[in-house]
Assembly symmetry: C2
Homo-oligomer: 405 residues x 2
């Protein structure tokens, strides 16, 4: 009998009525003769509420205790969902991450799944149970609870699908799929039927919120097709998968954007070995994630070095970088927190010239100044002013004719 793994996000289980609605959808899959494993996030704002409560008591709580605290959110929603299925006459059992056999490393708040021992899940499926697993969590080698960080429940779902050899991992969420651009910005944005793992990864890394990159990576490694679809309406979603059978007609597949970009530039940096390490090692130690790094080669062995971070890290990063800049003999540090980024993504762009030029021309026509440019094999990203992001996305969507499909 085929196993299907479904994941429902926090907004899909935000209250008793929504939980009942999700239970109906799960029951429909079960009645089709499938063995159903469900991964569930914490209800609505539960996680944020718990974080707020913790911060009232300790503004800098220890990660181990924070993880143990936050793990309760998914246990609550998983038990309630099992109860809803019982009330409808179905056999169901709720399992914590530990009970579901999910092992992680000890990197609290951003743990990685190191293994899944699905024996308990299989035993419960064989008893005829629908198995509801608390997402976002696992157990460390020291028998502590660790959480997986942002997008953690998606990662749980894909890991379970891989270990259970499920045919597909279905991610039900508050959007209807993956769009060519954010439909709130571009009314003509089109839902994609299929997208490749690589393209989805670049979309996620470039600001598309629909899937976290780690779950897509995991899907790619284990070759698990991931369906992203709405938990509210019955409409076909988007399949994320590998293989040749991609829509290749339009070589740009989507436009991603991100409003949360700040830039720090260190000017007059002596161009000698060890300088980059001197700057980025203390940032990494402080847990500040650096996105783009650009170094402009200058004259006289002097260079300017620019990197981007998320906005809220700017004050902390400037505090760390100030003394370092003085030590290495740089001129000054300048920050700009009013930036955003816009990216065009598509495997079809590989080895095909003209896409970058068309992107820059389009932005130029909108009178949008490009501050930084970075590229990967299947992505071109421009850092621009935050208040220009919206019109940039619209203009690029039109220029690359993404509404046409």
């Amino acid at each position: 009998m085929a196993i299907v793994v479904q994941k429902y996000g926090g907004s899909s289980v935000a209250d008793a009525d929504k939980i009942r609605n999700v239970a109906c959808r799960i029951a429909a899959s079960f009645k089709k003769g499938k063995k159903v494993v469900v991964v569930v996030s914490a209800m609505g704002d539960t996680t944020d509420d718990l974080i707020e409560l913790a911060n009232k008591i300790n503004p800098n709580p220890m990660a181990r205790e924070m993880d143990l605290l936050l793990s309760t959110g998914e246990i609550v929603s998983s038990t309630l969902l099992a109860m809803a299925l019982h009330a409808m006459g179905f056999k169901a059992i709720a399992l914590s991450g530990q009970q579901a056999g999910i092992s992680t490393d000890s990197a609290f708040s951003r743990a990685r799944i190191t293994g899944v021992e699905p024996e308990r899940i299989i035993k419960e499926l064989d008893k005829g149970n629908i198995v509801i697993v608390a997402g976002f969590q696992g157990i460390t080698p020291d028998n502590d609870i660790a959480t997986l960080g942002r997008g953690g429940s998606d990662t749980t779902a894909v890991a379970l699908a891989a270990s259970l050899k499920a045919g597909v991992c279905e991610i039900y969420t508050d959007v209807e799929g993956v769009y060519t651009a954010d439909p709130r910005l571009v009314p003509k944005a089109r839902k994609l039927e299929v997208i490749g793992y690589e393209e989805m990864l670049e979309m996620a890394n470039s600001g598309a919120r629909v899937m976290h990159h780690r779950s897509v990576e995991l899907g790619q490694v284990f070759d698990i097709p991931i369906l992203v679809a709405s938990s509210m309406v019955e409409k076909p979603g988007t399949i994320i998968r590998g293989g040749e059978n991609m829509e290749q007609k339009n070589k740009v597949r989507g436009i991603a954007h991100d409003m949360d970009v700040a830039k720090i530039t260190i000017t007059g940096v002596p161009d000698r070995p060890g300088v980059a390490a001197a700057i980025f090692t203390p940032l990494a130690k402080a847990g500040i994630s650096v996105d783009t790094i650009v170094q402009n080669a200058g004259a006289n062995n002097i260079t300017d070095l620019t990197f981007t971070i998320i906005k809220k890290d700017t004050p902390r990063a400037m505090k760390i970088i100030g003394p370092v800049a003085r030590e290495i003999g740089a001129k000054e540090c300048i920050s700009d927190s009013k930036l955003g980024k816009v990216s065009i993504i598509g495997t079809g762009m590989q080895n095909t010239p003209g896409y970058a030029a068309k992107m820059f021309q389009t932005l130029f026509e909108q009178d949008i100044n490009i501050q930084l440019i970075t590229t990967s094999e299947i992505r071109i990203t421009c850092i621009i002013a935050e208040d220009k992001v919206k019109e940039a996305v619209k203009a690029l969507h039109k220029a690359f004719e993404l509404h046409k499909g």
Copy 2:
């Protein structure tokens, strides 16, 4: 170094300020050079709120899922308490019941502790940590979470004290100790310095809410002295313990009362073997707990049988008993849900006549009708009208001169 086990109830950790207050008290014990293990209940009304949420989704939730759900309440409060101690500069670690090594049987919602493996707690204490344990829960042989039912966190605390060979188990709560009677009913009620396990058990079974009988039983079995004291004010509480050194001057130690009593009488019951089993087996199967049973021997092998239950079980019990009564050829079933009970308790009463007579005389002088009488070696209980309980407690407290100490 001496280990002390402390337990704080839900009202003591109901909000961030109260959690900080409890952290200060724990820190004070730690600074005296003790190794401190703390057991904590869920914050304020958390457990009731979770039950209400579950009932919205399923009016008759499965006990296994309910236990997994409710266990989160104590995990939340234990992590927050650890965070409060961190914020004050102390090393602390929060452990779930499973992490603390607490094993239970599989009787969900009313599980019994079957063993404690305190290795992790000892390891954390040796690292200099204050150890905060989520009360009320443990792990079954099937790796499921089970809760211990009413008074569960007290039981956790006493079990840990026993397994860690702690000198004392300190229960901090919203009352200042064990009183000769409920101070809300009898303003002259006196706090006892010491009370024996047996007396405390009879008090608890007779309606005194301060300690649940299971934790007292466990204290008696492992000979762990239990201190009951206020979590809010610094005042000596009451020590529950064994041994000879009891206050024996006044032979009645306390008056307990319980407003939650209903009575069912089956009249005209044929007095033959198997009748009691026919009546009480279906009640036990329905989970209805029967307190007092009285059978009045009658003429012609016909008898009246009366038993008491808690009020809310009355309709269900009548429904079960009706057909049984007809089957065994009894005359009729009558219920009365407006009853209460009052008890006098004291080991000093053993083998000393006159106490029962004095109790009955006192109630007679108040014009209170006694409906049923039951006794143990150290207790005499009268079932009376609910609206007479308050004046009965007052009159008995005065008659036995309990205010004099």
